[in-house]
């Protein structure tokens, strides 16, 4: 990937993107669904679009997923 392609990828926005507020509001629902089956992105396309574009929310999602999948507490 050259610099222009990387820039283009960074600048592209997804109109389905719901933003941080709604993504975080439903993050526990989305993460639990994602941990158990593959339908999370289909059921919540706006959240999936946001998590793919927003580094901090994506990081929080990965962290919550790791917590759910972690050793039984």
């Amino acid at each position: 990937m050259n610099g222009w392609t990387a820039l283009d990828r960074f600048l592209k926005t997804d109109p389905r993107d719901v933003g941080c507020g709604e993504a975080i509001e439903l993050l526990h629902v989305y993460a639990e669904l994602a941990a158990t089956d593959a339908s999370a992105a289909r059921r919540y396309p706006g959240i999936a679009a946001h998590l793919a574009a927003c580094g901090p929310c994506g990081e929080d999602f990965e962290g919550l997923l790791a917590a759910i999948r972690g050793p039984a507490l």
Partner: protein, 222 residues
């Protein structure tokens, strides 16, 4: 940013709580020694999740052992307070523990963001546009292309972004300030910063596409 589509990502009616979640809610809603014991147990769970999350993010953090553990304790304590305050908002859409873990993960992120300013590296208002090509992985040997990219983006930023969009673009893209670090510095929210960047990205892309640098499918340099 498009408005949220309630039919696409909306919340379904709250289901009945699973037995484990129901027990958490009942005990935490009560009083006396049982509640105290549940609070202590929940704090232990949150502390364990906070430590695990800090370990997971470890190599990207500029924190060491004692600082990491302090941050884990702070995140667990603040998450516990938030959970107790918002217990009435738990609707049973997930397990109680999943809902609770979200609070501590968010606290960890917020505290890492605040910690950034202990050693920021670059002042937020410095503008070094020669760094821009590096942000997008452009080979240092391709000098002409680097100058063209930096120049085109800088002109688009100067001519088309609002002062607020420009401030946030420079901080995040040029200076590498994490979004969560900007939240406290600018006295705003992650959502507001993301929305500002979202609009700035769209505006810059439209501008660069109109000037022939980018197209809908591929860039002319791809």
């Amino acid at each position: 940013m498009a408005p949220a589509d309630p039919t696409a990502d909306g919340i379904c009616p709250a289901p009945r709580l699973d037995p484990g979640s129901d027990q958490w809610v009942q005990v935490l809603s009560g009083a006396g020694p049982q509640r105290e014991a549940a609070l202590a147990r929940l704090h232990d769970l949150l502390l364990r999740i906070a430590r695990g999350e800090l370990q997971r993010r470890g190599s990207r953090l500029r924190l060491t052992g004692p600082e990491l553990d302090d941050l884990a304790y702070q995140a667990a304590a603040d998450a516990l307070l938030a959970i107790v305050a918002k217990l009435g908002q738990f609707r049973g859409e997930s397990k109680f523990t999943t809902w609770a873990y979200k609070f501590v993960i968010l606290e960890v992120s917020a505290k890492i963001g605040r910690h950034f300013w202990a050693n920021p590296g670059v002042p937020m208002d410095v503008e070094d546009w020669e760094r821009l090509p590096d942000r997008f992985g452009l080979d240092p040997a391709r000098e002409t292309e680097r100058r063209e990219l930096a120049g085109a983006v800088r002109r688009a930023v100067d001519e088309h972004l609002t002062p607020r969009q420009r401030q946030i673009f420079v901080a995040i893209v040029l200076n590498g300030v994490p979004m969560d670090a900007l939240v406290g510095e600018l006295g705003t929210t992650r959502n507001a910063i993301y929305k500002t960047m979202f609009d700035a990205r769209r505006k810059l892309r439209d501008t660069l596409a109109a000037q022939g640098y980018l197209s809908d499918q591929t860039s002319r340099h791809a």
